[in-house]
């Protein structure tokens, strides 16, 4: 296999691959931030005593967690132009572009998974904290923002980071709507130069290094937290 292994194709396509990697990292970061924010909202809704908040958010989270990510990407990619046409009334309205459709798809998808993690984290904060906060005269918003969430997030950071690493791996799926992330860039070079073996193995190696270092860092973070407790 390695007799004809062409390292030079990897070397000369590094700038283009770096562009793809910037896309992957950017999409991961934005989806992570949006997902955690939306996930926290969903978690608080699920935990609220008002059925009108907890039932829809529960239904949304359960539904999104039972369908594949590719299907969610297709939903937003094909349906957003139709929605734009309906809203603006203009039959020739274009969508918002594949990048923003993918970003919305990833954010909505990951929000459901983050919601479950954050909900578990919030429920792990002792009830005494909430009672003490209310006894001191804080209202719901102050108790949540200043007492419950900070403690909940401290416990959840390792799992949230692990889910974000999985999100980084999942961004490779934007391939199905034609966006060029790192895997897409490697695939384009592979097909243009006929070097499938080299480019796909290199892509696998890069993903492995990034994700393994990420999970190693999370493990060390977890060890540090456990000592502190």
């Amino acid at each position: 296999m390695f007799t004809g292994f062409d390292f030079e194709v990897i070397q000369r396509s590094l700038p283009y691959l770096w562009q793809g990697m910037q896309f992957s990292l950017g999409l991961t970061l934005l989806a992570m931030l949006g997902g955690i924010f939306l996930g926290t909202l969903l978690a608080l809704m699920r935990l609220s005593p008002y059925k009108i908040l907890s039932y829809p958010s529960g239904a949304y989270v359960n539904l999104v967690r039972s369908i594949p990510l590719i299907l969610v990407i297709f939903w937003f990619y094909f349906l957003i132009p139709l929605l734009m046409k309906k809203i603006t009334g203009n039959p020739y309205a274009s969508g918002i572009g594949p990048f923003y459709s993918a970003l919305i798809a990833f954010t909505m998808f990951e929000a459901a998974y983050y919601c479950e993690i954050i909900r578990a984290g919030i429920q792990s904060v002792p009830r005494g904290q909430v009672s003490a906060a209310y006894a001191l005269g804080l209202n719901y918003r102050q108790a949540t923002l200043r007492v419950v969430l900070p403690q909940a997030f401290r416990n959840m950071v390792p799992i949230l980071l692990t889910t974000s690493i999985i999100l980084f791996q999942d961004t490779s799926l934007v391939y199905v709507v034609g966006l060029t992330d790192f895997m897409g860039a490697a695939g384009k070079i592979a097909r243009r130069d006929g070097r499938l073996v080299e480019m796909y193995l290199f892509a696998a190696l890069v993903y492995f290094i990034i994700c393994y270092s990420g999970s190693y860092f999370v493990r060390r973070l977890q060890a540090r937290y456990n000592v502190g407790q």
Partner: protein, 242 residues
């Protein structure tokens, strides 16, 4: 919301669009279930190997799990389909490229199987390691060999403990089967996209696909809950998961 397109004749002859949907469901279920059979057997072996005291067995298992967990499924799918026929010896590679029946399907099954096996291995390992050390020590003190200890003492309880997270993995393999569309397996998501291209009924067909995936998830969840109740060990409160 017009569902009548399902009974309209398909563009490429031979039946109506509903047949495409059913064919998609069939391929999704086949890929997922065959992949799960591979994942469960290989994953159990690797998971057990990760817990044995012998380093020469433990280290390859750890390497396997780390490699297959840290490379995205799409990349693995491409490597199985495009790269493996080039890497293996020439005669095997030629057979893989020209004479293998249903190459996309079997590559998807193998890829999904080995990917999910690494996750199953982690579950099995955590199940075994959550058992009290006294179990192993008592078994060895009674004269059982290590394989016998695993077979009669550790694994029966470990599998019962990890039924809930294993359910998640089983569900995940059904969802990950959609990645097979990138190498050409016409499973449910691919068929839904094709039908939307031909009939322009995007909203309706994606709704149908969503409902079918949700039904598959519900079925799996309920059957695993039934399995958990059937295998529950009376009196072992901590181990049976609730």
């Amino acid at each position: 919301m017009d569902f009548s397109f399902l009974s309209q004749p398909a563009f490429s002859g031979g039946g109506v669009y509903l047949d495409w949907v059913i064919s998609g469901i069939k391929w999704t279920l086949l890929v997922s279930i065959l992949g799960w059979i591979i994942a469960f057997t290989v994953g159990s072996i690797v998971g057990v190997l990760r817990t044995v005291p012998l380093a020469i067995l433990r280290v390859p298992a750890t390497i396997y799990v780390e490699i297959f967990r840290n490379v995205p499924l799409l990349v693995q799918m491409f490597i199985w389909y495009f790269v493996v026929p080039e890497i293996v010896p020439k005669t095997a590679g030629d057979w893989l490229k020209t004479q293998m029946p249903l190459p996309e399907f079997w590559n998807a099954v193998l890829c999904l199987g080995f990917y999910t096996a690494s996750r199953v291995a982690e579950q099995v390992r955590s199940g075994i390691q959550s058992m009290p050390r006294g179990q192993t020590n008592a078994a060895l003190a009674m004269g059982l060999t290590l394989p016998q200890t695993y077979r009669h003492v550790l694994l029966p309880m470990a599998y019962r403990i990890v039924i809930p997270p294993m359910t998640t993995e089983f569900l995940t393999i059904f969802k990950n089967s959609s990645v097979a569309l990138t190498i050409g397996v016409l499973e449910l998501t691919a068929q839904a996209r094709q039908i939307s291209e031909y009939t322009f009924r995007t909203f309706e067909i994606f709704t149908i696909a969503t409902i079918i995936y949700a039904l598959i998830t519900l079925t799996v969840t309920f059957s695993m809950r039934w399995l958990e109740n059937k295998t529950r060990v009376p009196g072992y409160i901590g181990g049976s998961g609730k």
